[in-house]
C-alpha cells in the first residue's frame, strides 16, 4: 500500500487492540435455548400455497377496501361509546414461573398505569450486586 506509514499504523493498531475489547458473553446458555426454540418454532413444515399469489393480492386489496369503507362509515358511530381504555395499559395475562412466587395485577391509583405485584421473591442481601 503506497503512502502508508507502517510505524504510525502500528501505534493505531495497538490502540485498537487495547481498547476495542469485547465483554464476555453473559448467560451463554440463553443463546442455545433461544436458538433451539426458534428452530423448533420455524421447523413446522409449511404447506404449499393453495391459492395463486395474484389472487391473494387482489383479495387482500379488496379486503382492505372493504375495511376502509366500513371504518369510515361505521366506526364514527361507535366512537362515542369507546372509552379511553385504548390509551391505558392493561395486563392481559401474567404468571409466575416459579412455584414460590405469586403474581397479581391491578390498575395504578392514578388510573394511568398498571401494576404487577410479585410476592415470594427471594430477599437479596445488600452486599449482592443487582446492577
Amino acid at each position: 500500500m503506497r503512502n502508508f506509514d507502517e510505524t504510525d499504523w502500528a501505534k493505531t493498531k495497538s490502540l485498537l487492540r487495547e481498547h476495542l475489547t469485547a465483554p464476555g458473553l453473559e448467560h451463554p446458555d440463553f443463546v442455545n435455548s433461544r436458538v433451539l426454540e426458534e428452530i423448533e418454532r420455524q421447523g413446522k413444515p409449511s404447506r404449499p400455497a393453495a391459492f395463486p399469489l395474484r389472487w391473494l393480492a387482489w383479495s387482500g386489496i379488496a379486503a382492505l377496501l372493504t375495511a376502509g369503507v366500513l371504518t369510515t362509515i361505521v366506526l364514527p358511530q361507535q366512537a362515542g361509546r369507546r372509552g379511553d381504555t385504548e390509551f391505558i395499559s392493561q395486563v392481559i395475562a401474567a404468571r409466575a414461573e416459579s412455584p414460590q412466587l405469586s403474581v397479581s395485577e391491578f390498575r395504578a391509583p392514578d388510573k394511568r398505569g398498571v401494576v404487577i405485584w410479585i410476592e415470594g421473591a427471594e430477599y437479596i442481601p445488600a452486599e449482592n450486586s443487582v446492577r
Binding site: F30, T72, E86, A96, V115, V130
Partner: protein, 145 residues
Amino acid sequence: MSRCLTAAFLLLVLWAPGAHPAGDRIWSALVLATNEDPSTPIPEPLKKFAPVIEKVFGYNSLYLLGQKKRDLFYGSEQWLVPSKEFFFKVQCLSQGPTSYTLRIELYHDKNLLVTTEARLARDSPLYIRGPAWGKGQLIFLLEVR
C-alpha cells in the same frame, strides 16, 4: 400488472385509517425504592413515577440503578437490559394505533421470574414489584414512548 398492484397497495397503505406514527420506543428502568432518606432528590427520569410508587409501594426515596430504551415495532423481539442481573425479553405481538401487545419476560440472572402479556399504551407505564434488596425494594418500570 405488477405496477397496478403496487400502486393500489401503496394507496391503501397511505390511506389506511388508524395508521400510527413510527419511532415508538420501549423504555425500562430498574429502581431501588427505600424510606431511608426522604430528602433524597428524586432522579429526573423517575419524577413522574414517584407519586404512584409512594402510593402503591409505600416508598419515598428512589434511586435509578439502570435504564435502557430500544425501538419497538410489530414483530420485534429483543432484550432490554437495565441491569446485568435483571433484564427483560420483550416480544411485540401486535400493534395498534395507540398501544402495543407485548409478551414480556422478566429474568433474574438465569431464572425466569414472570411472564406477562400486556397491552402497553404510550405514556401508560407498567410497574413491577421485584424482590427486596437490602433495606429497599426493587421496582421495574416499563413504558412505551
